[in-house]
């Protein structure tokens, strides 16, 4: 039995050393990455300052072109949108940004199933914490993780767990020396066809209280910091009504927040040439959409 205990202790020692060393190396790679999504994240969350930040899900990162917005608005712009993520992730990102500086404008592209509705694939909401885990030592991010799951808080004691599933990306982005010029925008070049149209999971149309709470916190923080918050609903192919945005419309009205609604815009809604799939614009569609958003934003920013 004594030998077994000794081998177990040896194993635990090796794990602790590898975990500590792995975390050290990965933290270094992350904070010194020059390319790919890791570099973009570091620029937005930790390294640079931008006057306008775009937030939201994949509909944010595929629809808003920062370089185009910079020309139109004459302000520095970055796209912090994250595929498959919503308000819980974005609140954590906002906490990190606001510790360093206060942006002038935040454009939040709303995706109802990620931002306030219950979504069938949500589980216990911990999936929204994945992009925040590498930053779990940050005070603001720790608060978010703790609110969602105490178990995740315990798991993030492991440095390797903080980089769970992103290690290849972090290493690749550190080693590759090609700086990104798109500032978080991810262009799509496909064209929607009937056969290839994606099917979305069924969304149960009832509110998720945790998400709505986070949205309320987000609105309060923006108000307290004097940030011009703008909600946006970008186009979706083939939809006939924007009833699903009723709740966010009410929240925006109560808090005097502008809501730019292009969800059923006739220019996009029946034109498959502007879509990569039923929910995402392609690059051509994104250029037109971004210009339209800038036209509206100019007047909102001027008023503020």
């Amino acid at each position: 039995m004594r030998k077994l205990v000794n081998y177990c202790l040896l194993g635990v020692f090796i794990i602790i050393c590898l975990d500590w060393l792995g975390g050290l190396v990965l933290d270094y790679f992350r904070s010194n990455a020059n390319s790919g999504p890791t570099a973009i994240q570091e620029d937005i969350y930790k390294r640079k300052e931008f006057e306008v930040i775009i937030m939201g899900s994949s509909r944010a990162c595929h629809h808003y072109i920062p370089t185009l917005m910079e020309k139109e608005l004459q302000m520095t712009v970055a796209n912090a949108g994250k595929e498959g993520n919503g308000i819980i992730t974005m609140y954590g990102i906002a906490e990190m940004i606001l510790q360093r500086y206060t942006p002038k404008v935040i454009i939040y592209d709303v995706t109802p199933e990620y931002d306030y509705l219950h979504y069938s694939e949500d589980g216990n909401l911990t999936r929204y914490l994945t992009p925040l885990l590498p930053y779990s030592k940050d005070k603001g991010v720790k608060k978010v993780i703790d609110k969602i799951s105490r178990t995740e808080c315990v798991k993030t004691l492991s440095n390797l767990y903080r980089y769970n599933s992103v290690i290849p990306t972090v290493i690749h982005d550190y080693l590759k020396n090609e700086s990104d010029t798109l500032r978080g925008y991810l262009p799509l070049y496909g064209v929607l066809s009937q056969v290839q149209g994606r099917t979305m999971s069924n969304t149960d149309y009832y509110m998720n209280p945790t998400k709505t709470d986070f949205l309320q916190y987000f609105v309060s923080v923006c108000k307290d910091k004097g940030i011009t918050l703008v909600f946006a609903a970008s186009p979706k192919f083939g939809v006939e009504s924007s009833d699903v945005f009723e709740w966010i419309h009410k929240l925006a009205t109560e808090n005097h927040i502008p809501l730019i609604n292009f969800y059923t815009d006739s220019l996009f809604v029946n034109n498959p040439n502007y879509f990569n799939d039923a929910v995402h614009l392609n690059n051509e569609g994104a250029i037109i959409f971004t210009s339209k958003v800038c036209n509206v934003l100019r007047s909102i920013v001027a008023e503020q």
Binding site: I14, L18, S165, P168, T169, T199
Partner: protein, 452 residues
């Protein structure tokens, strides 16, 4: 409660404390194991305990009655068949119900398919005089609901598990060491290999028209590894937990993708179920001790029963029929004999292709999906594109499946030649744990075979 949930990890130290109980405290050991087993089972779904209790009560009391009725053969036979029907009633009813009423919500007690077969096996062994009747209700209860194997097997035989549970010993240091190693490997295979590969497989199967035929073909190959890693991972966790308690369970897998024929595959895959089907379906039907045509019919029936055990769906029935005919063909053409080294790799590859094809049926929700999926692979076979699947995910599959294959190759060809020293084994275990932390899907998801 999944074996990978945080609640389970709270119970694990209790199981380790069990190993510290002094020798001779057998009743306390049994009560402890029974309490943990029942508590875990109730935590999964409290209502399911009714079915567990039903099967245990019917088969325990039935076996005792059988002993008394032994003088009268006719009465014994009637009694045996009556008990069999009562024991199988919940399993058959709940399996048929979704097929009969597709719109009704499906409730299926965890592990019903497994502990029912285990109980039926015991009943049959007592009837045929292959094992003695168990009088101690504590021993029998533990045999039916022993927690490591409760949700998805392995299906144990009475004469291999009951003696161990009737006289539980204090586990040796080597038992605990082997148990911990099995546990680590099991979690690695499930969390790193099965769940990561499974995420991409699910994405492709769910929207297969969005992917090329080559992507869909790749998904079928990946599914073979997902299913193997998932079920083998579960089995290793079950074996590991049992071994920590000083109990040896049968291993369900023996490097199945090293098989050189379908028959060989079924001697390596889900071994406990194959053994059960052989002993309680195939041999009672006559096995191979009959005419050739009857033997082929027995094989086909056994495989159809195997398909139906997985679910009362045409896809599972056809899956069983396909494998049955494949085995019959092998027997008829004598392809199930050992091969020369020259053809060894070719036969392994062909066997893998056949199994891969059968698993498309196994995975398909319906026959029409199966037909459309095959059609898409054949007629839309453009190059691999894998849209929306990141390089990180691909990297994880390659590493995970690579480690799985290396492990299998070592167990198949190297375990006799290269003994791994304890220090190296410790380093490997530590690296696996680091791999689990770095790449594992740790959200406590369920195992595939829990659904059966």
């Amino acid at each position: 409660m999944s074996f990978l949930s945080i609640q389970f990890w709270i119970i694990l130290p209790l199981i380790l404390l069990y190993s510290l109980l002094p020798d001779g405290k057998q009743t306390i050991r049994k009560l402890f194991l029974l309490t943990v087993s029942v508590a875990l089972y109730v935590s999964w779904n409290p209502i399911s305990i009714i079915f567990l209790a039903w099967v245990a009560a019917i088969t325990y009391s039935g076996a005792l009655f059988q002993e008394k009725a032994r003088e009268n053969e006719h009465k014994l036979k009637l009694h045996f068949w009556g008990l069999l029907i009562l024991t199988l009633l919940p399993l058959v009813t709940l399996k048929i119900r979704p097929a009969a009423c597709p719109s009704s919500s499906v409730f299926f007690p965890v592990g019903l398919s497994f502990f029912t077969l285990q109980a039926v096996g015991y009943l049959s062994d007592v009837y045929h005089g292959r094992t003695q009747t168990v009088r101690n209700i504590l021993d029998y209860s533990l045999f039916i609901c022993f927690f490591p194997q409760l949700s998805s097997g392995p299906i144990s035989k009475a004469n291999e598990l009951l003696p161990q549970l009737a006289n539980p010993k204090r586990p040796e240091a080597s038992d605990i060491g082997i148990g911990i190693k099995h546990l680590i490997w099991g979690i690695f295979l499930k969390a790193v290999v099965a769940d990561n590969v499974g995420a991409s497989v699910d994405a492709i199967y769910k929207n297969y028209l969005y992917y090329s035929g080559a992507d869909c073909l790749l998904a079928t190959i990946l599914y073979c590894f997902q299913l193997y890693a998932d079920f083998c991972g579960y089995t290793l966790i079950a074996l590991g937990l049992a071994r920590i308690c000083g109990i040896c369970l049968i291993d369900n897998f023996r490097q199945p993708y090293q098989a050189t024929s379908i028959s060989d595959f079924w001697r390596r895959w889900h071994i406990s179920l194959s053994r059960w089907l052989k002993d309680y379906i195939y041999i009672p039907l006559g096995g191979s001790r009959c005419s050739r045509s009857q033997n082929y019919m027995n094989l086909l029936i056994t495989f159809i029963v195997s398909g139906l055990w997985h679910g009362v769906k045409w896809t599972f029935v056809l899956w069983g029929v396909f494998l049955g005919f494949a085995c019959i063909l092998e027997k008829a053409l004598k392809l199930n004999q050992p091969v020369t080294p020259t053809f060894h790799l070719l036969r392994q590859l062909l066997t893998f292709c056949a199994i891969d094809f059968s698993f498309i049926l196994f995975r398909s929700p319906s026959i029409s999906f199966f037909k459309d999926y095959i059609r898409h692979i054949i007629f839309d076979f453009q190059s691999l594109s894998l849209p929306d699947i990141g390089k990180g995910a691909i990297f994880t599959w390659i590493i995970g499946i690579g480690i799985l294959i290396t492990r299998d190759l070592y167990l198949e060809y190297g375990v006799e030649r290269w003994k791994i020293k304890p220090v190296l084994s410790t380093i490997v275990s530590a690296l696996l744990i680091c791999g689990i932390l770095s790449f594992g899907v740790l959200s406590g998801g369920n195992f595939i075979y829990v659904n059966f």
